[in-house]
Protein backbone atom coordinates (compact mmCIF):
# COMPACT_ATOMS: atom_id res chain seq x y z
CA UNK A 1 0.00 0.00 0.00
CA UNK A 2 1.26 3.43 -0.84
CA UNK A 3 0.56 6.63 1.00
CA UNK A 4 -0.72 9.43 -1.21
CA UNK A 5 1.93 12.09 -1.53
CA UNK A 6 -0.56 14.91 -1.61
CA UNK A 7 -3.83 15.41 0.22
CA UNK A 8 -5.81 16.89 -2.65
CA UNK A 9 -8.71 16.17 -4.97
CA UNK A 10 -6.62 17.46 -7.88
CA UNK A 11 -6.09 14.79 -10.57
CA UNK A 12 -2.38 14.23 -10.12
CA UNK A 13 -1.36 11.53 -12.57
CA UNK A 14 0.10 8.31 -11.19
CA UNK A 15 3.27 8.89 -13.24
CA UNK A 16 3.87 12.15 -11.42
CA UNK A 17 3.08 10.71 -8.01
CA UNK A 18 5.21 7.62 -8.51
CA UNK A 19 8.32 9.42 -9.73
CA UNK A 20 8.09 12.16 -7.11
CA UNK A 21 7.74 9.46 -4.46
CA UNK A 22 10.84 7.73 -5.84
CA UNK A 23 12.72 11.02 -5.78
CA UNK A 24 11.77 11.70 -2.18
CA UNK A 25 12.87 8.21 -1.12
CA UNK A 26 16.11 8.82 -2.98
CA UNK A 27 16.68 12.08 -1.08
CA UNK A 28 16.93 10.37 2.28
CA UNK A 29 19.01 7.41 1.09
CA UNK A 30 22.81 7.33 1.09
CA UNK A 31 24.06 8.90 -2.09
CA UNK A 32 27.12 8.33 -4.20
CA UNK A 33 29.17 10.98 -2.37
CA UNK A 34 26.96 12.48 0.37
CA UNK A 35 25.67 10.53 3.35
CA UNK A 36 21.95 10.13 3.95
CA UNK A 37 22.15 12.57 6.86
CA UNK A 38 23.84 15.12 4.64
CA UNK A 39 21.32 14.57 1.85
CA UNK A 40 18.39 15.18 4.19
CA UNK A 41 20.17 18.32 5.37
CA UNK A 42 20.50 19.41 1.73
CA UNK A 43 16.75 19.06 1.24
CA UNK A 44 16.03 21.06 4.38
CA UNK A 45 18.51 23.75 3.38
CA UNK A 46 16.94 24.17 -0.07
CA UNK A 47 13.63 24.82 1.65
CA UNK A 48 15.18 27.27 4.08
CA UNK A 49 16.83 29.14 1.22
CA UNK A 50 13.66 29.28 -0.84
CA UNK A 51 11.57 30.58 2.06
CA UNK A 52 14.12 33.01 3.51
CA UNK A 53 14.40 36.70 2.85
CA UNK A 54 16.47 36.91 -0.31
CA UNK A 55 20.16 37.62 -0.10
CA UNK A 56 21.96 39.20 -3.03
CA UNK A 57 23.90 36.61 -5.04
CA UNK A 58 27.26 37.98 -3.95
CA UNK A 59 26.43 37.43 -0.26
CA UNK A 60 27.23 33.91 0.85
CA UNK A 61 24.79 32.82 3.54
CA UNK A 62 27.67 31.27 5.47
CA UNK A 63 29.09 34.80 5.82
CA UNK A 64 25.94 36.18 7.47
CA UNK A 65 26.29 36.02 11.26
CA UNK A 66 23.75 33.71 12.83
CA UNK A 67 22.18 32.54 9.58
CA UNK A 68 23.82 29.12 9.52
CA UNK A 69 24.06 27.19 12.77
CA UNK A 70 27.40 26.14 14.20
CA UNK A 71 26.51 22.47 14.10
CA UNK A 72 25.13 22.31 10.57
CA UNK A 73 25.67 18.84 9.04
CA UNK A 74 26.90 20.39 5.78
CA UNK A 75 30.11 22.26 5.09
CA UNK A 76 29.60 25.98 4.64
CA UNK A 77 30.50 25.82 0.96
CA UNK A 78 27.66 23.37 0.33
CA UNK A 79 25.19 25.66 2.07
CA UNK A 80 26.38 28.54 -0.10
CA UNK A 81 25.93 26.45 -3.26
CA UNK A 82 22.43 25.47 -2.20
CA UNK A 83 21.33 29.07 -1.68
CA UNK A 84 22.97 30.25 -4.89
CA UNK A 85 21.46 27.53 -7.07
CA UNK A 86 18.05 27.84 -5.44
CA UNK A 87 17.68 31.61 -5.44
CA UNK A 88 20.11 32.87 -8.09
CA UNK A 89 20.11 30.32 -10.87
CA UNK A 90 20.71 33.14 -13.38
CA UNK A 91 24.15 33.83 -11.92
CA UNK A 92 25.90 30.47 -12.23
CA UNK A 93 29.08 30.88 -14.26
CA UNK A 94 32.14 28.84 -15.14
CA UNK A 95 34.21 31.14 -12.95
CA UNK A 96 31.92 30.42 -10.01
CA UNK A 97 32.12 26.68 -10.67
CA UNK A 98 35.91 26.68 -11.00
CA UNK A 99 36.25 28.49 -7.70
CA UNK A 100 34.41 25.61 -6.05
CA UNK A 101 35.66 22.50 -7.83
CA UNK A 102 37.97 20.89 -6.97
CA UNK A 103 39.30 23.29 -4.32
CA UNK A 104 36.27 23.12 -2.03
CA UNK A 105 34.16 20.27 -3.41
CA UNK A 106 35.00 17.25 -5.53
CA UNK A 107 33.25 17.11 -8.89
CA UNK A 108 31.21 14.15 -7.66
CA UNK A 109 30.07 16.00 -4.55
CA UNK A 110 29.18 19.04 -6.66
CA UNK A 111 27.16 17.12 -9.28
CA UNK A 112 25.23 15.20 -6.64
CA UNK A 113 24.58 18.38 -4.67
CA UNK A 114 23.42 20.25 -7.76
CA UNK A 115 21.14 17.38 -8.71
CA UNK A 116 19.52 17.22 -5.29
CA UNK A 117 19.02 20.97 -5.15
CA UNK A 118 17.43 20.91 -8.59
CA UNK A 119 15.14 18.02 -7.67
CA UNK A 120 13.94 19.63 -4.45
CA UNK A 121 13.32 22.90 -6.23
CA UNK A 122 11.26 21.03 -8.80
CA UNK A 123 9.16 18.95 -6.43
CA UNK A 124 8.55 21.87 -4.09
CA UNK A 125 7.59 24.22 -6.91
CA UNK A 126 5.10 21.61 -8.06
CA UNK A 127 3.53 21.53 -4.60
CA UNK A 128 3.71 25.30 -4.16
CA UNK A 129 2.30 25.85 -7.63
CA UNK A 130 -0.76 23.77 -6.84
CA UNK A 131 -1.15 25.20 -3.33
CA UNK A 132 -0.34 21.86 -1.69
CA UNK A 133 1.80 21.01 1.29
CA UNK A 134 5.37 20.07 0.41
CA UNK A 135 6.31 16.41 0.71
CA UNK A 136 8.11 15.65 3.94
CA UNK A 137 11.54 14.13 3.58
CA UNK A 138 11.94 10.91 5.50
CA UNK A 139 14.54 10.17 8.16
CA UNK A 140 18.03 9.42 6.89
CA UNK A 141 18.31 5.79 5.83
CA UNK A 142 21.21 3.65 7.00
CA UNK A 143 24.16 2.89 4.77
CA UNK A 144 27.21 4.49 3.29
CA UNK A 145 27.79 6.46 0.10
CA UNK A 146 28.81 4.29 -2.84
CA UNK A 147 31.76 6.56 -3.76
CA UNK A 148 31.98 5.26 -7.31
CA UNK A 149 32.66 7.04 -10.57
CA UNK A 150 32.00 5.76 -14.11
CA UNK A 151 35.33 4.51 -15.46
CA UNK A 152 35.13 6.61 -18.60
CA UNK A 153 34.03 9.89 -17.01
CA UNK A 154 36.05 12.89 -18.12
CA UNK A 155 35.70 16.61 -18.71
CA UNK A 156 34.80 16.75 -22.39
CA UNK A 157 31.80 18.90 -23.23
CA UNK A 158 30.53 20.29 -19.91
CA UNK A 159 32.29 22.05 -17.01
CA UNK A 160 31.71 18.90 -15.00
CA UNK A 161 33.05 15.47 -15.94
CA UNK A 162 30.51 13.39 -17.84
CA UNK A 163 30.32 9.78 -18.97
CA UNK A 164 29.37 8.77 -22.51
CA UNK A 165 25.65 8.10 -22.79
CA UNK A 166 23.44 6.48 -25.40
CA UNK A 167 19.93 7.26 -26.51
CA UNK A 168 18.36 3.93 -25.61
CA UNK A 169 18.66 4.52 -21.88
CA UNK A 170 21.88 5.58 -20.29
CA UNK A 171 24.79 3.23 -20.14
CA UNK A 172 28.49 3.86 -20.44
CA UNK A 173 29.63 2.83 -23.90
CA UNK A 174 32.11 0.36 -22.52
CA UNK A 175 29.21 -1.69 -21.14
CA UNK A 176 27.72 -2.10 -24.61
CA UNK A 177 30.86 -3.65 -25.98
CA UNK A 178 29.81 -7.25 -26.55
CA UNK A 179 26.13 -6.78 -27.32
CA UNK A 180 26.59 -6.93 -31.07
CA UNK A 181 24.48 -3.78 -31.41
CA UNK A 182 25.34 -0.83 -33.54
CA UNK A 183 26.76 2.07 -31.57
CA UNK A 184 23.89 4.12 -30.22
CA UNK A 185 23.61 7.79 -31.06
CA UNK A 186 24.63 10.16 -28.36
CA UNK A 187 22.03 11.89 -26.19
CA UNK A 188 21.28 15.59 -25.84
CA UNK A 189 23.87 17.31 -23.72
CA UNK A 190 21.37 18.12 -20.98
CA UNK A 191 20.83 14.41 -20.48
CA UNK A 192 24.56 13.83 -20.05
CA UNK A 193 25.01 16.58 -17.49
CA UNK A 194 24.59 14.41 -14.38
CA UNK A 195 26.17 11.24 -15.79
CA UNK A 196 29.10 11.48 -13.40
CA UNK A 197 26.68 10.34 -10.69
CA UNK A 198 24.43 7.77 -12.42
CA UNK A 199 21.69 7.49 -9.75
CA UNK A 200 21.10 11.23 -10.03
CA UNK A 201 20.78 10.99 -13.78
CA UNK A 202 18.32 8.13 -13.44
CA UNK A 203 16.03 10.19 -11.23
CA UNK A 204 16.34 13.12 -13.63
CA UNK A 205 15.28 10.90 -16.54
CA UNK A 206 12.31 9.50 -14.59
CA UNK A 207 11.09 12.97 -13.67
CA UNK A 208 11.42 14.16 -17.28
CA UNK A 209 9.43 11.20 -18.51
CA UNK A 210 6.58 11.73 -16.07
CA UNK A 211 6.31 15.52 -16.04
CA UNK A 212 7.33 16.45 -19.57
CA UNK A 213 7.62 14.06 -22.49
CA UNK A 214 7.55 10.32 -21.85
CA UNK A 215 10.05 8.02 -23.44
CA UNK A 216 12.62 10.60 -24.32
CA UNK A 217 10.84 11.64 -27.54
CA UNK A 218 11.64 15.27 -27.02
CA UNK A 219 10.97 16.98 -30.31
CA UNK A 220 9.79 14.47 -32.87
CA UNK A 221 6.15 14.70 -31.89
CA UNK A 222 5.57 18.42 -31.91
CA UNK A 223 2.10 18.04 -33.39
CA UNK A 224 0.81 15.71 -30.71
CA UNK A 225 -0.78 16.38 -27.37
CA UNK A 226 1.11 15.20 -24.30
CA UNK A 227 -0.89 14.28 -21.24
CA UNK A 228 -3.58 16.97 -21.09
CA UNK A 229 -1.49 19.65 -22.80
CA UNK A 230 -1.05 20.56 -26.42
CA UNK A 231 2.59 20.22 -27.33
CA UNK A 232 2.78 23.92 -28.17
CA UNK A 233 1.47 24.76 -24.70
CA UNK A 234 4.07 22.48 -23.17
CA UNK A 235 6.89 24.10 -25.13
CA UNK A 236 5.63 27.58 -24.24
CA UNK A 237 5.71 26.69 -20.55
CA UNK A 238 9.23 25.32 -20.89
CA UNK A 239 10.41 28.34 -22.84
CA UNK A 240 8.94 30.87 -20.42
CA UNK A 241 10.28 29.08 -17.37
CA UNK A 242 13.72 28.89 -18.99
CA UNK A 243 13.56 32.59 -19.85
CA UNK A 244 12.80 33.48 -16.24
CA UNK A 245 15.74 31.38 -15.14
CA UNK A 246 17.91 32.84 -17.92
CA UNK A 247 18.82 29.41 -19.16
CA UNK A 248 20.45 29.85 -22.56
CA UNK A 249 20.52 26.14 -23.32
Amino acid sequence: MTTPLYDTPLPIRAEIGNTQAAAVRHWSAPGTWWTAVERVAIVEEVRRARDADELPPWTAPSSVPGLIGNHHPLPAVAVDVIWRVTNHVTTLTREWYEALVPAALSAGHYVELLSLVAQVNMVDRFADGLGLGRIEVGPAAPGEPARTTPDDAAVTTHWVPTAPSAAAGWRPTDQAGDTGLEPQPDVPNVLKALSLVPPERNIQMALIGSHYVPGGALSDDIGKDVWSLQRTQMELIGAITSAVNECFY
Binding site: L114, V190, L229, F248
Partner: protein
Protein backbone atom coordinates in the same frame (compact mmCIF):
# COMPACT_ATOMS: atom_id res chain seq x y z
CA UNK B 1 10.19 39.34 -14.01
CA UNK B 2 9.80 38.05 -17.52
CA UNK B 3 12.10 39.46 -20.14
CA UNK B 4 11.09 39.96 -23.70
CA UNK B 5 7.64 38.47 -23.33
CA UNK B 6 5.20 39.80 -25.89
CA UNK B 7 1.50 40.37 -25.64
CA UNK B 8 -1.33 37.96 -26.35
CA UNK B 9 -1.30 34.21 -26.66
CA UNK B 10 1.51 34.03 -29.20
CA UNK B 11 -0.48 31.60 -31.28
CA UNK B 12 -0.79 29.14 -28.39
CA UNK B 13 -4.21 28.39 -26.96
CA UNK B 14 -4.42 30.11 -23.55
CA UNK B 15 -0.78 31.12 -24.02
CA UNK B 16 -1.03 34.36 -22.09
CA UNK B 17 -2.62 32.61 -19.14
CA UNK B 18 0.09 29.95 -19.11
CA UNK B 19 2.78 32.63 -19.17
CA UNK B 20 1.20 34.25 -16.13
CA UNK B 21 1.08 30.88 -14.37
CA UNK B 22 4.82 30.37 -14.97
CA UNK B 23 5.59 33.86 -13.72
CA UNK B 24 3.48 33.37 -10.59
CA UNK B 25 5.28 30.10 -9.81
CA UNK B 26 8.59 31.95 -9.75
CA UNK B 27 7.33 34.77 -7.56
CA UNK B 28 6.61 34.68 -3.86
CA UNK B 29 3.16 36.26 -3.86
CA UNK B 30 0.82 33.47 -2.80
CA UNK B 31 -2.28 35.53 -3.54
CA UNK B 32 -1.24 36.12 -7.14
CA UNK B 33 -0.40 32.47 -7.55
CA UNK B 34 -3.75 31.38 -6.12
CA UNK B 35 -5.63 33.70 -8.44
CA UNK B 36 -3.81 32.52 -11.56
CA UNK B 37 -4.21 28.92 -10.47
CA UNK B 38 -7.97 29.39 -10.16
CA UNK B 39 -8.06 31.07 -13.53
CA UNK B 40 -6.21 28.21 -15.23
CA UNK B 41 -8.43 25.64 -13.57
CA UNK B 42 -11.56 27.49 -14.59
CA UNK B 43 -10.49 28.11 -18.17
CA UNK B 44 -8.57 24.92 -18.94
CA UNK B 45 -9.50 22.34 -16.31
CA UNK B 46 -7.83 20.69 -13.34
CA UNK B 47 -5.85 18.18 -15.40
CA UNK B 48 -4.27 20.95 -17.44
CA UNK B 49 -3.47 22.88 -14.28
CA UNK B 50 -1.63 19.87 -12.83
CA UNK B 51 0.25 19.13 -16.03
CA UNK B 52 1.15 22.76 -16.67
CA UNK B 53 2.51 23.18 -13.16
CA UNK B 54 4.37 19.90 -13.61
CA UNK B 55 6.08 21.03 -16.81
CA UNK B 56 7.14 24.36 -15.34
CA UNK B 57 8.41 22.63 -12.20
CA UNK B 58 10.42 20.19 -14.33
CA UNK B 59 12.08 23.06 -16.16
CA UNK B 60 13.13 24.56 -12.81
CA UNK B 61 15.08 21.33 -12.39
CA UNK B 62 16.46 21.30 -15.94
CA UNK B 63 17.49 24.96 -15.88
CA UNK B 64 19.48 24.42 -12.69
CA UNK B 65 21.18 21.37 -14.14
CA UNK B 66 22.13 23.06 -17.41
CA UNK B 67 23.20 26.38 -15.87
CA UNK B 68 25.11 24.59 -13.12
CA UNK B 69 27.02 22.14 -15.32
CA UNK B 70 27.96 24.34 -18.27
CA UNK B 71 25.88 22.23 -20.62
CA UNK B 72 26.85 23.15 -24.19
CA UNK B 73 24.37 23.64 -26.98
CA UNK B 74 23.77 20.56 -29.09
CA UNK B 75 24.45 20.94 -32.83
CA UNK B 76 20.74 21.16 -33.65
CA UNK B 77 20.19 23.91 -31.10
CA UNK B 78 23.30 25.70 -32.23
CA UNK B 79 21.79 26.10 -35.67
CA UNK B 80 18.60 27.59 -34.29
CA UNK B 81 20.14 29.36 -31.34
CA UNK B 82 21.57 32.70 -32.41
CA UNK B 83 18.54 34.17 -34.25
CA UNK B 84 16.05 32.80 -31.74
CA UNK B 85 18.15 33.93 -28.78
CA UNK B 86 18.47 37.46 -30.11
CA UNK B 87 14.75 37.59 -30.74
CA UNK B 88 13.81 37.33 -27.09
CA UNK B 89 16.95 38.60 -25.44
CA UNK B 90 18.50 35.31 -24.39
CA UNK B 91 21.83 36.41 -25.85
CA UNK B 92 22.08 38.76 -22.86
CA UNK B 93 21.82 35.98 -20.26
CA UNK B 94 24.93 35.28 -18.21
CA UNK B 95 24.52 31.62 -19.14
CA UNK B 96 24.94 32.52 -22.81
CA UNK B 97 28.59 33.37 -22.08
CA UNK B 98 29.20 29.90 -20.72
CA UNK B 99 27.02 27.88 -23.06
CA UNK B 100 29.42 26.85 -25.75
CA UNK B 101 28.46 25.16 -28.96
CA UNK B 102 29.44 21.53 -29.01
CA UNK B 103 31.17 20.72 -32.25
CA UNK B 104 29.85 17.19 -32.36
CA UNK B 105 29.25 15.57 -35.71
CA UNK B 106 25.98 13.81 -34.95
CA UNK B 107 23.12 16.18 -35.75
CA UNK B 108 19.45 15.96 -35.03
CA UNK B 109 19.27 14.97 -31.41
CA UNK B 110 16.50 16.42 -29.39
CA UNK B 111 17.05 18.81 -26.58
CA UNK B 112 15.46 20.39 -23.60
CA UNK B 113 16.53 22.58 -20.84
Amino acid sequence: MLKGAGNGDGGVEHGELLVRLCAAMVGRDQQVLAEVRDEVRSAMGAEVLVDAVGVSALFHLMNRVTNGTGTPLDPMLAQLGPPAAAQFGADRYRSSNDTSVERAEAPGENCLG
